[in-house]
């Protein structure tokens, strides 16, 4: 009797504790699932070749080798790929943010119905599958003589990420009190100056979020990069790595490929781990404010 009562007193505490440890366990599983493929690539990249193609699988590289990483720079124009990706993504981000900030400033101060219509139109545009645009864009790029030129990717990347940039920036601009804007207007401050002096500094977090997302998505794009960049020296890092995969899967030097995969993804890994809070809150504020 007494023991039963004691048990019923302990039970809620016990249940809370098991619930908490179950949550921790689930959290650990989720973290493991999210990181495992990336960690496996890192291990493969640092393994001597004979341990990569070994049955049964060798899990930890012993000794660690930097040969695959070094081979990337000597045997493939991997440095070029990285530089191309960085160049294209950076300019696409600049162009996208410039056009996006202007548009977002207009949308943020538009009367309710026009604003909703513009935002929905942008959303619909962002939902078109890219295969619809691929071939006509290719024709255009060829007619302009832009094949193998970075601008062939910069302009489409800026345009394709524009809806997202406007959504994120608009949410940031909306938080700036309209009175501030009106006061500056009465002082005779022209529109572009107001945008530069008031909107952009006050909405700097949104600008950073939008910039990071546009950069990440430009860095990751494959389909256009694959078709517009035919020369090896012009390829971006995704196209360079993916064109290795298209060959026979048996001839692939997996050590080098893993090293390439790791290096191509490290910048993004750093971005998300450092700025995760900002990226997710910026994204969801744009979404939830509707």
């Amino acid at each position: 009797m007494r023991r039963a009562r004691a048990a019923s007193r302990i039970a809620p505490k016990l249940r809370a504790r098991t619930a908490r440890s179950l949550a921790v366990l689930a959290g650990a599983l989720v973290v493991a699932w999210s990181l495992a493929p990336a960690i496996w690539q890192i291990l493969t990249a640092l393994k001597p070749t004979d341990q990569i193609a070994h049955v049964p699988t060798v899990y930890l590289p012993h000794p660690l080798t930097w040969d695959h990483v070094a081979a990337l720079w000597t045997r493939k124009p991997f440095g070029r790929y990285l530089a191309n990706s960085a160049w294209v993504s950076a300019w696409a981000t600049v162009l996208c943010l410039a056009a996006g900030a202007l548009a977002a400033a207009a949308v943020a101060r538009a009367p309710g119905r026009a604003r909703a219509a513009l935002l929905i139109a942008l959303l619909v545009i962002s939902l078109f599958p890219p295969i619809l645009l691929l071939f006509p864009l290719y024709e255009m790029v060829r007619a302009l003589g832009w094949i193998n030129h970075p601008i062939a990717l910069i302009v489409p990347y800026a345009a394709l990420n524009l809806p997202l940039a406007v959504w994120v920036l608009e949410a940031g601009f909306r938080e700036i009190p309209a009175e501030l804007d009106d006061a500056a207007q009465l002082e005779g401050c022209p529109t572009l100056t107001r945008l530069w002096r008031i909107h952009l500094p006050l909405a700097a977090p949104s600008l950073a979020t939008a910039g990071m997302l546009v950069f990440i998505f430009s860095w990751n794009e494959l389909m256009l990069a694959l078709t517009f960049m035919t020369r090896d020296g012009s390829k971006t890092v995704t196209a360079g790595i993916a064109s290795v995969g298209g060959a026979s899967l048996y001839e692939i030097p997996w050590g080098q490929l893993s090293a390439a995969i790791v290096i191509a993804t490290l910048p993004l890994l750093a971005l998300i781990l450092l700025f995760e809070g900002r990226i997710t809150s910026g994204l969801t504020r744009g979404a939830v404010s509707e």
Binding site: V55, G100, R109, F128, G245, S258, I272, I279
Partner: protein, 294 residues
Amino acid sequence: MSGAVWTRERRWLLAPAAALLLLVVAFPIARLLALSLCRTELSHGIVLRFAGFEQHARLWQDGRWWLALRNTLVFGVCSVTAELTLGTAFALLLDRSFRGRRWARAIVMVPWVLPSAVMALAWAWIFNDSFGVLNDLLSRMGLVRGPVAWLGSPVTAMAAMIVADVWKTTPFVALVVLAGLQSIPSSVIEAARVEGATSARILWHVVLPLVRPACLVALAFRGLQAMGAFDVPYVMTGGGPGGSTETISLYAYRSFYRYLDFGYGAAIAVQGALLAALVLLPIIRFARRPGGSR
């Protein structure tokens, strides 16, 4: 009304964005629609001739189109279902407070920012038949006897692609659902608890109905993206074995660049997009209908 301040300049502020979208989206779509009504003749260079709906009609008799359509639907339905389930579970977990939650959130987002083209290769390595780590793990656990050629047979190749896609995009669903969860006022849940509802009942009858709009947003986005899947099949399987993982986008891509059949490729892309829109419509209607929660 302070809106008046911007009225005159508004048009000009929208101009650069409008120009970009016209050039990169509107014009190409118009061109693609026109192309889909043409036949390519390769006799004297490449000549396009108007052919009405001939290309669209060809699709009916093309077994490869139906296979690609089936593959795309199987891929889309399986991966989006798994992503919504897993993503909601991730979001519920990340919504609780526990030590290290900030880090857990950052790490859960990792797959979403990595390039799918590159990580599809990483998955191909994991699923590799002779040296892949999956076969090793499974045989150590005694679950398989001898190596399985995951990417070598139709059903397992599709399953491998779905796993890679689920890994990559579950974080997106988790992110959207988490935003939905955080917009639920805690007073609602407190009220249910005071009434004596158990956690399971609160989850089922209060929390999940309230995050339904967020789930539908995620469903719409992911559904459309999955209907246009290109990167993962291109890199991981190349559409093989025997076309069993070729998606609509991959088939259209090949019609353009391998077979130089531009009109037909355009027709494939147009019909694929129309079907995707058809899939989306009921979701939007469902989202508009007031939920049972209110």
